[in-house]
């Protein structure tokens, strides 16, 4: 409980909550659209074994996760160190050992974890129907179509989340992100025809 409170405090003094939210949506959206594209690619090609589809999606998901963690950690560490140096200059003293130095150390890690886990978890969720089909669990539709449906649903809910954050209509926001996904679907189908 104390750890959560301390992390909340560090996020508050470093104004990082909004950044984390932004990273979650941006990279989560990236992950969902990437999976949408990969799955649609498999749908439009000749029949490919499910194991190949799962391995491809899993590889992409892991790559997105690692990329998210490393890129956010490196960039956020540099930004936080710079902000700390600026603050030390304004205070005319070293802030080592203070809450600000702790924030400069821990906040980049937290942001990196959010940035990496968003596309990874969303991707894993999207390929759940593929795993279920491979495990022999009967689905009401083809596994690839199921994964496509899950991807579209997640993209819609990311829009709903953004609508809630902005205080706008959640339906409008959800439909906006869904429209982006449908345009992507249209482009892929057009180019692969």
């Amino acid at each position: 409980m104390n750890l959560l409170r301390d992390l909340g405090f560090l996020l508050r003094i470093s104004h990082s909550r909004g950044i984390m939210r932004r990273y979650f949506v941006v990279n989560g959206f990236d992950g969902a659209l990437t999976m949408l594209g990969v799955i649609l690619g498999f749908i439009t090609t000749d029949r490919v074994p499910l194991s190949v589809v799962i391995a491809t999606c899993l590889g992409a998901a892991i790559a997105l996760g690692v990329s998210g963690v490393s890129s956010a950690y490196l960039s956020e560490t540099a930004e936080r160190q710079r902000a700390l140096s600026d603050l030390e200059e304004a205070m005319a003293k070293s802030l080592q050992g203070s809450a600000h130095a702790q924030a400069a150390r821990w906040v980049p890690l937290l942001i990196a974890l959010v940035n990496g886990s968003a596309p990874l978890l969303i991707s894993l969720l999207i390929i759940t129907p593929l795993w279920l089909a491979r495990a022999g669990i009967p689905l009401p539709m083809q596994a690839l179509h199921g994964a496509l449906l899950v991807a579209l649903l997640i993209i819609f809910f990311l829009g709903v989340f953004l609508g809630r954050v902005a205080g706008n209509s959640i339906w409008r926001s959800g439909l906006q992100t869904l429209l982006v996904a449908l345009v992507t679907v249209g482009l892929i189908l057009l180019l692969s025809a």
């Binding site: 405090f9 508050r12 003094i13 470093s14 104004h15 600026d86 603050l87 304004a90 205070m91 005319a92 003293k93 802030l95 050992g97 203070s98 809450a99 600000h100 130095a101």
Partner: protein
């Protein structure tokens, strides 16, 4: 032994944590009455006058909290001390 019952500090701190956070952190140290006045606001910092009063004010603990929250103690402007003749006699 004489005990400090009130101190008045001149402190420079970044805008974050807020004055409320700082006041609460000081108040949590003991049964203190904490009064914080913002004297000046700059682009990244603010100058505060912090008054802490209590039956036995622990200056070192207060200084540690101020430092941990990234603030700098510029000066101790006033100190109230209460002496105890009984303690002095026993010593």
């Amino acid at each position: 032994m004489a005990v400090v019952t009130r101190i008045l500090l001149d402190v420079l701190k970044p805008h974050d944590p807020s004055v409320l956070d700082l006041a609460r952190a000081l108040g949590d140290l003991g049964d203190y009455r904490v009064c914080v006045r913002v004297l000046e606001m700059d682009k990244k910092t603010e100058t505060l006058e912090i008054e802490v009063a209590g039956a036995d004010v622990d200056f070192e603990a207060i200084h540690t909290v101020i430092r941990d929250l990234g603030a700098a103690l510029h000066s101790v402007d006033e100190v109230d001390v209460s002496g105890s003749s009984v303690d002095q006699q026993t010593e």
